[in-house]
């Protein structure tokens, strides 16, 4: 059984923009799936539909054998707990310490009152520190999150997502606001989480060189539709022009 099945998923925004047009694909356990396409092709909408931050207009999402397209309330929160997410802008709480930010990944398993009073179970503290070690910044646990560099902040965001012990990790342009050297650092941690921790990853990416290096499979979106599905090696120059348009030139990131 596949981990995730997306069937004929469509999204029309209230202003009439059709962001997704009947998108269907499956994701097997352990995959590192890259989603490519121009800005505005529907990549971000797709990721946010998967964990229901955005409500799809039609179609269905089946996760781990269960239809999650219309679940609400506690069921939706339990579903989201199984799916970590990282963002282009990291979305940390800058005024809080790194450790507090990582602990926020466990909010779903802490009561509202305990979380507001900062009472996290000791094992969550241990886990948070271990996750910071995994991404190599345990020494920064007690500094303010906004004092870190971009790459470090994205690693904190990864540690926060790991607190959920996710079955699936959604990464929305995780390196788009980082410089090339830092990008590889962050991507390597994602690769490590994928292979060593067995976490399935769906990652929106701009750079094909990163796709070729880290992804096990690729889908390409254009105007909200899947126009390519296959392995990274299969993206030839012709496919590239088809996905990105005739004027596009591939830029490499080393």
């Amino acid at each position: 059984m596949a981990l995730l099945e997306i069937n004929a998923l469509s999204k029309v925004y209230p202003n009439g923009t059709q962001a997704l047009r009947s998108v269907s694909f499956t994701v097997e356990r352990g995959e590192f799936l890259a989603v490519i396409g121009l800005s505005g092709s529907g990549k971000s909408t797709l990721l946010r539909c998967i964990n229901r931050l955005i409500e799809p207009t039609s179609g269905s999402i089946v996760f781990d054998g269960a239809d999650v397209t219309h679940i609400k309330g506690d069921a939706l929160r339990r579903y989201r707990q199984q799916i970590g997410m990282i963002f282009q802008q990291f979305n940390l709480i800058g005024r809080y310490s790194v450790l507090q930010n990582v602990l926020m990944g466990a909010l779903g398993s802490v009561t509202t009152l305990d979380s507001i009073l900062g009472r996290y179970r000791p094992e969550l503290h241990t886990m948070a520190l271990r996750n910071l070690e995994i991404v190599g910044i345990a020494d920064k646990a007690h500094v303010r999150a906004d004092s870190l560099s971009g790459g470090q902040q994205q690693r904190v965001a990864i540690a926060r997502a790991l607190m959920q012990e996710p079955k699936l990790l959604l990464a929305d342009e995780p390196v788009a606001s980082l410089d090339p050297a830092t990008s590889h650092g962050v991507m390597r941690y994602l690769g490590y989480i994928n292979r060593q921790l067995g976490c399935t990853i769906i990652c929106n990416l701009h750079f094909l060189s990163l796709v070729r290096e880290y992804a096990s499979r690729v889908i390409a979106l254009k105007h909200g539709q899947i126009v390519f599905e296959g392995s990274p090696a299969e993206i030839t120059d012709d496919w590239f022009r088809h996905i990105y348009g005739d004027e596009a030139v591939e830029v490499e990131i080393r």
Partner: protein
Amino acid sequence: MRKRLSQLFLDWLACTYGVVLFHRIVWLEVISARPLPFAWAGSGSATILTTVPDWVLYAIVGAVGASIAGFTGASLVALLRGELAPNSWQRRIALHVGSLLLSLTFVTGWIVTKISLTDMFSSERLRAAGRIFSSLLTPEFSILPQAIAAIIETVYLAFMATALALPASFVLSFLAARNLMREHQWTRLLYTLLRIVTNFTRSIEPLVWAVIFTVWVKVGPFPGMLALMVHTISSLVKQYSEQIEDIDPGPMEAIASTGARPLQVVWFGVVPQIVIPFLSFTIYRWDINVRMATIIGLVGGGGIGTMLNQYQMLAQWHEVGLIVLVIALVVWVMDYVSARIREALL
């Protein structure tokens, strides 16, 4: 079509306004120099058709004007909407009509406010002014202890109004923030209701609230505090909720994606982004409240304002002078301190 109709309607309002001013002010007051005191109501008794009330005639003449404007295109509303071509004769005429209305308004304002330079600068009036200014400038220092006690009451009154308004405003501001409330129809309804109520309560001046509360609870600092509190809540809810609407939605998204509950999303995704501006608004509000509290005392809201009112009724201007001095000092100090604290926060 709707646009044409609204243009016609607004042109009619403008024309009727012009006709009313022209007849009531220019014709009756200035040209015929009617001996009666000026009033908007009643018959002008100079109209041609004595059987028809003046106001009906005004409306009819206004409608004629609006129709002419509609046919020729020389419409004031079209001018304000920027629809008239530059250098067209319609635009020139509309501009003339506009400036005529503006001058009529100014003349009317002059007559309605009963501005009289002869009253202000007659030797008798100037002597009275000299008397009061010289008294104010030689304050009576013997009542200083009472004045200090009263202003302390005022400062505490302002502080309590702010402190009690703070938690209520904090909670309500989240319910009055569009970005948090637009998801479901019930929360949207609550948002709309809250916006209406706060806009309404805010548009009522604290002075009027004080009058209401002095009837409800008896005269003293308590009704003054209540009046300031109500006004503070509605003002802070507006400022707070606008701040909430301005936040970066990213952290909220991140917290929601972990499977957190709605309250946790607000506490971790929203609150850290707004504490500092909230503190700054609150301190500024306390500063405003100290100033307002002195005024509220005039209608029985306690503190230095009540004391000022008493001495002013007795025409003891030296004492009034001291009280004004004390108020000015405290307001200046509050202003300075609050500005420095807000600077340090931001």
